[in-house]
């Protein structure tokens, strides 16, 4: 991000473009919680924080992040929140009420929706929240716009005094494209907080007044949407068909029309300011075309509103999209999928178009696993052994993080994974329902800070006899190793107080707490057995720093890494594959029916040597 290179295009990733856009807009306070595909935005801004005088933080969860940014925006400075779609659920409590008070400095919530999904528990469309909260929504169509429109979003936010939802999807976040940069603005608004309790204290009488104000602001927003330059028609002369496309799907539509040679037969209405919609513009587009295909990610939100506009107008235009199956109902769109929709509307039955319907060849899937030497794999091994020793079927409730790869074969170690912190509360529910046997909630350190503390307090308060296993690897690993309150560093890499998980757990009222290293297999099994036999909520903290991050940092510090070298004795290895199937370590290979160790990936954790029934794996002297 060299400012001297202005006007010369550079190769820019979408998330870095958004970060750059925030710098160009003069953002002052940035807060977020890591989540794919959003994480690089805040990491990038954290790297610029000192140079440009910003406050950038990883907050404990998205609601906290939103409230931090919202507080800053009340003080008149520009503030940015970054989150993935699921985090919008978490922050929505604050978002919906903050729309009533409004803001002073611009407040932009960047939500990166993993719509397919590639790395999430669901595929949700956060644009519903813009409608629910009654706030504007902007959806850029490519990387350049992802940068440029951040400034627009801040201006809209300040003009309307409303938070703005800046909605992007994976194919913008992790896309790379040529892009030109603008000048960075230093934040120059002096912060000031002016008491105004009729506006900021949301007791019911004030809320009744403010909802009228809010509805009025959204009427003004409709006029802004109508005049937004990137809500525009690209008309094909005498086209009978039109495509209405928002966000990333606009570029898919253009690509599909180019590939199919249909640019001159189909008009396109490009939408980027999508809440409220430019109703007059849409009405004119409907009047001008006999058939309209609506493409959007990922729910038929615009399609429903277009249907409603058509109904009000009484036009005969046929409207197609996800609702009538012209566009597939689920999963992300691609140029192919948009193209198929276009050809169906135009009734084109050209055999040369068959090529566009290729499916991905049906091949062996490459199922992601835990890394070589991952302490979570060792924790899962110990957990399964401890459950066997205690007896009874029980359940293992899982949570969100790297460790949900433990659901994949060969580990198949967890029974549930729903949302941040749910492992502990769901375990309580299973116990209260009367399920017998050990019930164990497995949760990572960052997830515990995010939303695991309240469920633990609840388990103590309501005497749920469960075991909680906190997999403490010191980092928020899954999303790219961001620091959390347990890391001892803040987002900008400076030392931060370390919040002790043991003390926190004890302060929640848990009396039985054990700390183990999962690399010591027998010790971990014994601790889990003792915890399962304890007749109250009890906690095992399985602590081992994430080796991937640990090795990265040590290498960066100039250390030459060397690992304990384990070898398999081929005379003793019976080829039973117990190690491969019970630990699932990717450093275990097979040759001629015997296990071998891949020394390019093995980090010498020694777990396989501890579990081998033939004692065939040992340290090479």
């Amino acid at each position: 991000m060299d400012t001297q290179k202005l006007r010369h295009p550079i190769l820019l990733m979408g998330n870095h473009a958004i970060a750059r856009g925030a710098l160009e807009a003069g953002v002052k306070v940035v807060a977020g919680y890591p989540g794919t595909p959003s994480s690089e935005i805040l990491t990038c801004l954290a790297g610029e924080a000192d140079r440009h005088g910003l406050h950038v933080e990883w907050s404990t969860n998205e609601k906290v992040a939103y409230e931090v940014a919202y507080g800053a925006a009340l003080a008149g400075v520009r503030a940015l929140v970054t989150t993935k779609h699921l985090g919008v659920n978490v922050l929505s409590d604050a978002l919906l009420v903050s729309a009533y008070t409004g803001v002073n400095g611009g407040l932009v919530v960047v939500t990166a929706d993993d719509i397919h999904p590639f790395s999430s528990q669901n595929a949700e469309d956060t644009r519903y929240y813009a409608r629910l909260a009654k706030i504007p929504c902007i959806e850029p169509t490519n990387v350049q716009e992802a940068k440029d429109m951040v400034s627009d979003a801040f201006k809209v936010s300040e003009e309307l005094q409303l938070p703005v939802l800046f909605r992007v999807t994976d194919r913008i976040c992790h896309a790379k494209s040529d892009a030109t940069l603008g000048e960075i603005s230093q934040p120059d608004t002096p912060p000031s907080f002016v008491k105004d309790d009729s506006r900021y204290v949301m007791i019911a009488p004030n809320a009744r007044r403010r909802v009228e104000w809010l509805n009025g602001q959204m009427d003004k927003a409709a006029a802004l949407s109508e005049n937004y330059p990137e809500n525009r028609v690209e008309a094909a002369d005498s086209a009978k068909m039109g495509v209405i496309a928002s966000g990333i799907t606009y570029e898919h539509a253009i690509e599909a029309l180019n590939v199919l040679g249909l640019r001159d037969r189909v008009s396109v209405l490009k939408l980027t300011f999508t809440n409220p919609l430019p109703k007059q513009m849409i009405a004119a587009f409907l009047r001008a075309h006999r058939e309209v295909l609506v493409v959007e990610e990922i729910e038929p939100i615009i399609e429903n509103e277009v249907n409603s506009i058509a109904h009000q107008l009484g036009v005969e235009t046929s409207i197609h999209g996800r609702l009538d199956g012209y566009i597939p109902r689920e999963h992300e769109l691609t140029p192919d999928r948009v193209g198929v929709g276009v050809t169906r509307v135009l009734n084109i039955d050209d055999p040369s178009l068959e090529e566009v319907e290729y499916e991905t060849p049906d091949l062996v899937r490459r199922i992601p696993n835990l890394c070589a030497g991952c302490p979570h794999a060792a924790s899962y091994y110990a957990l399964k052994q401890a459950m066997r020793r205690v007896g009874g079927r029980g359940a293992v409730t899982g949570d969100r993080g790297c460790y949900n790869q433990g659901t994949n074969p060969p580990l198949s170690a967890i029974d549930t994974c729903v949302c941040m912190g749910a492992s502990i509360s769901m375990a309580s529910g299973l116990r209260h329902a009367g399920v017998d046997g050990p019930i164990v909630a497995v949760i990572g350190d960052s997830t515990f800070f995010h939303n695991g503390v309240q469920p633990l307090v609840n388990a103590v308060h309501n005497t749920a006899d469960i075991t909680v296993m906190i997999l403490d690897n010191g980092w928020t690993g899954m999303t790219g190793h961001q620091p959390n309150p347990n890391t001892g560093l803040n987002a900008t890499g400076k030392p931060a107080p370390r919040v002790s998980i043991e003390k926190l757990v004890r302060a929640c009222g848990v009396e039985h707490v054990q700390v183990v290293s999962p690399y010591n297999v027998e010790e971990t099994i014994n601790a889990l057995v003792a915890t399962m036999n304890y007749k109250a909520p009890a906690v095992v903290i399985s602590r081992q720093v994430c080796p991937v991050q640990d090795h990265r940092l040590r290498k960066r510090a100039g250390e030459r890494l060397s690992f304990t070298r384990y070898e398999v004795d081929p005379d003793r290895c019976t080829g039973c594959l117990y190690c491969v199937n019970s630990v699932g370590c990717p450093a275990l290979d097979l040759a001629d029916g015997k296990v071998t160790i891949n020394h390019e990936t093995c980090i010498g954790c020694g777990v396989c040597a501890q579990v081998c029934p033939s004692e065939a794996i040992e340290v090479k002297k």
Binding site: P9, I10, L11, T36, F118, S119, N142, R171, I172, H174, A175, K176, S177, D178, I248, E251, H252, I254, E255, A256, N258, V259, T334, P335, D336, G339, E355, V356, E357, Y358, E359, T360, P361, L363, V364, R365, R366, I367, P368, N369, L370, C371, C402, Q405, P409, P410, G480, V548, L577, V580, N581, G584, P586, L588, D589, L590
Partner: protein
Amino acid sequence: MVSAGTMIAEAALAEGLRIRSSDATGLAQRGGSVHSQIKIGDEVSSAILHSGTADVVLGFEPLEASRWAHMLKRGGVAIVNSNPVYPVTVKNGMLRYPGIEEQKRVFDERGARSIWLDGRALTEKLGNMRVLNSLMIGFTAAKTRIPIGLDTLRRIIAEKVPSRTVEVNLKAFDMGFKEGCEGP
């Protein structure tokens, strides 16, 4: 580590071309499937390729290369590193890894050509297994008509790889290019 896709995109940018590309690289560490899609040209739209439109598939692993065969246009070229990386489910016998003839057929059936090279054997000659990217880019430059000059590719490789590995990476690029010119 800069991906081969990013190096090609940077080189195309240096040639004054426009870029749309899309990466799914997060699961490499965990043994998952990763890929990048790149469009380069005077006018480009959408970070996702339309199937049947790719000129080149650059496959660093056979199974992963054939996974994207449907993106190739008729007459397109797949450059495939022939060294397999077996998924855990293959290692423990749950699934069968397809044979090389089976994988070649995937490309043949699309009317595309596949050119295979033994990247491990070649990089071993250089004493460094981590220069496969540069080797594959050099090979691709010889075998396909990507609109990027050799000098630009070399310059971008030199800029993007760690400084102490510039020399060996350029050697790998040249070796790949030479291999590509000599082979069938």
